[in-house]
């Protein structure tokens, strides 16, 4: 255990006498926390996963990595002090960053780290009292939050000392504490609400959707907030002038700081201070009083597969949605292994929560980027697209050539699956050309993530600009397919859903290469745009070339693939 964990453990055990008074076995408490902290230290964070794929040394000092990352985040938050006239404004923005970031980190950690379902098998059967167990869990959460929060607020503390003096730190720490409590109980309430509303087996997938939403919100915040701020001249902006601002929790925290530091004594600031103190405390009380009793019991049911299994009396009905996918499979693939792989991948992409977690945020990011671009560019108009002016052509091409971002995200994930060892089925069956498994899965990704979007774009642009745009649209689509096919050919050696979730540096390089190639091709296309003859010829050539490359992928032999596998 590293010195940070050791120090934090010693710190939380200071009031041991008090714990004993309420009936906690402090000996057991120390042992449990000690084990949890050691495990935390060996669990890789995203930062260390990259290193792990290179050398197989066991993960150590994950804590230090996490703290470093969170300090970097905190440094980034300092941007907020550039905005607005008053510290009320600056701190409102600061706390908005703080709340969103911490909440999005914690909501993931709560399932993974803090509510460890293995506790049910390991700790609960031992003679450990409920009180000891609950206190150990709370203290573990406290330690975990400390490790994130302390480095995160450190940059702001330094900034405040330099600009407002040492005394400004005391109200800041107090307000941050309240904000943190607010976040923790917001997440808790959110968990409890989900557990009340749905079955524990759906819990994990709902949490993952919330994480996706947070990730998008987070990204949107960083993209849009500075741009919106740009509109309303950065330094003269005053947030407290808005009437409804009192409804924003992060404004309460900023107002509370202002009241405690400046002692301005306005009604609004007093209200902020009251809310800052009352809301977190009240929410703790509500959670403990009304929700917590059934919480642990319900949580223990999240274990999933082994605990409960369906034993329905009625035979379940077959899914009707398979009609659409089987129609597409006939359109895109040859009969046999390729079609099997297409249908398999299609289903897995829709059902694997792992896959959805990694790919669906990309949909949100793309929407955010488009909105951000449109907000920034005041000169954009649909009339330009309709009459295909220079500006309109630029937007038409940008739309087509960005439409495969989603596909790229999906392709990066279709080889990965939590239970990747299930891929044994591809190795024991008489599959002559494993390339067909790969080409089938790539085509499924194209059909699910590229085809609908590109069809919508095609209809949208054609209805605006008329049939004149069709050759160019076809060329754009063909080029995107070609780029995808080339990227697939360069990178494939893995079967669908057959390798563990890891950051593959080769994959990143391939994505970057594919995007660069896409940009180059798009630029050439832009130059040729008005020469319809060329455009038509190139479109045909591009389609033929991608068909050819897909064929090459589907003929890959086992020799190419066995290099990556042996130990399934």
């Amino acid at each position: 255990m590293n010195f940070i964990n050791a120090a934090l453990l010693r710190f939380v055990l200071i009031p041991s006498a008090l714990y004993r008074k309420i009936g906690v076995n402090t000996q057991q408490l120390k042992v449990i926390l000690n084990a949890k902290l050691i495990m935390d230290d060996r669990r890789p964070n995203t930062f260390q996963q990259i290193k792990k794929s290179r050398n197989n040394k066991p993960i150590r000092f994950a804590t230090l990595g996490t703290m470093l990352l969170s300090a970097l985040m905190g440094l980034l938050f300092l941007i907020s002090f550039m905005f607005g006239k008053s510290y009320e404004t600056k701190l409102t923005i600061y706390f908005s960053f703080y709340v969103i970031t911490l909440a999005s980190i914690l909501i993931a950690d709560f399932t993974g780290v803090l509510i460890d379902v293995r506790d049910n098998f390991i700790i609960l059967p031992k003679p450990v009292s409920d009180k000891t167990f609950v206190v150990s869990r709370l203290l573990h959460i406290f330690i975990h939050v400390c490790k994130l929060v302390i480095p995160m607020i450190l940059p702001a503390i330094v900034f405040l000392i330099l600009n407002k003096g040492v005394i400004s730190i005391i109200p800041f720490l107090f307000v941050t504490l309240m904000a943190t409590l607010f976040i923790i109980f917001l997440i808790n309430a959110c968990y409890i609400l989900i557990l009340k509303l749905t079955t524990p087996s759906k819990f994990q997938s709902i949490i993952s959707y919330i994480q996706i939403a947070f990730a998008i919100l987070f990204y949107a915040g960083y993209q849009l907030v500075p741009r919106l701020m740009d509109e309303i001249s950065i330094s003269q902006y005053e947030i407290s002038e808005y009437a409804g601002i009192i409804l924003l929790p992060t404004y309460w925290f900023a107002g509370a700081w202002q009241q405690l530091y400046g002692w301005d004594n306005t009604l609004q600031l007093w209200l902020c201070l009251t809310l800052t103190i009352m809301v977190p405390l009240l929410s703790i009380w509500i959670v403990i009083k009304y929700f917590a009793p059934s919480f642990n019991q319900k949580l223990s049911m999240i274990t999933g597969s082994t605990g409960e299994f369906l034993n329905t009396d009625k035979p379940a009905k077959k899914n009707a949605s398979s009609f659409y996918s089987s129609m597409l499979s006939k359109l895109f693939t040859k009969k046999g292994v390729e079609r099997i792989s297409f249908l398999f991948t299609w289903k897995m992409m829709l059902r694997s929560s792992d896959f959805k977690m990694k790919v669906y945020p990309a949909i949100g990011y793309i929407v955010v980027v488009i909105v951000a671009t449109l907000i920034r560019d005041k000169t954009f108009s649909f009339a330009d697209v309709a009459s295909q002016t220079k500006h309109g052509i630029f937007y038409t091409l940008a739309l087509i050539y960005c439409s495969n971002l989603l596909l790229i995200a999906a392709l990066g994930q279709i080889t990965m699956y939590e239970k990747y060892k299930a891929a044994w089925i591809f190795f024991i069956t008489p599959v002559a050309h494993p390339g067909k498994l790969i080409s089938g899965s790539i085509k499924a990704a194209i059909a699910q993530f590229f085809f609908p979007l590109v069809l919508a774009i095609f209809i949208f642009i054609t209805s605006l600009a008329g049939p004149i745009a069709i050759p160019n649209l076809l060329l754009g689509i063909a080029n995107e397919l070609l780029v995808t096919a080339i990227a697939a050919y360069m990178g494939v050696s893995k079967l669908p859903f057959s390798s563990p979730q890891q950051i593959d540096s080769g994959n990143t390089i391939r994505v970057l290469a594919a995007m660069t190639l896409g940009i180059v091709v798009a630029f050439i296309h832009y130059l040729l745009y008005r020469i319809i003859v060329f455009v038509s010829i190139f479109a045909a050539l591009s389609f033929v070339a991608s068909w050819y490359i897909f064929n090459a992928v589907s003929n890959l032999s086992w020799q190419k693939i066995y290099r990556t596998y042996n130990e399934i």
Partner: protein
Amino acid sequence: MKPIISLKNLYKNYGSRPVLKGIDIQIYPGQVIGYIGPNGAGKSTTVKILCGLITDYEGQVYVKDMNLRDHLVEVKRNIGYVPELAELYDVLTPIEFLSMMAELYNMNKDIALERITKMLAAFGLTNNMNDRMDTFSKGMRQKVLIISGLLHNPDIIILDEPLSGLDANSVIIVKELLSKLAKDGKTIFYCSHMMDVVEKVSDRIILINEGSVIADGTFDELKQQQGDKSLEKIFANLTAKDSLSTAADQLINAFNYPN
């Protein structure tokens, strides 16, 4: 008679650690082989080589006179493999999963579907056949795995601890099934730790330890060599370095501190 499977001088290392040290086995059509050995003896490795999961081995493997290296795909077509509690794409339903397996074996879709439905029904899974397998218990998953190995009616069936997780009734079903398959002339390669089952189902027992074959013969032959004992005892005699009852004594004596 020609052997249906023949392993010649089979070697395999994991890094610098040898797992198989020259295995030589000839298996004849219709035999039920009980392949036993302690943990880490190399049982699973042998099975994985036969099924085409491991390809970087030394030595030769022939199945139906075909060299495994040159005719991998054709060999796979002749083998059915039932792994022990293997990972599954469990967001699929049994019907979806088994249909996919059937198609990978190039089976006709309609025949496959009918066979799958019948086999699932025989195991009492009719009501669950369109449920996703992530809600299944261990035993239900194992039943699906057993079906996946038999579905294409292969001549050679390789079972790696197939009874794991099954309840007592299903164990009886599978044991009966094995003897019926043997009567039909299937060659069965049965890996297990359950000596009483191996003793009953197999007509030839091969015992390996630390990567080499140390006993090979019918149960009666083994009894003649080792004295009239149960297979469990014979196994212990041949593979345990120290007396097992001494180990049990040591475990019990661990309580005696501070005497």
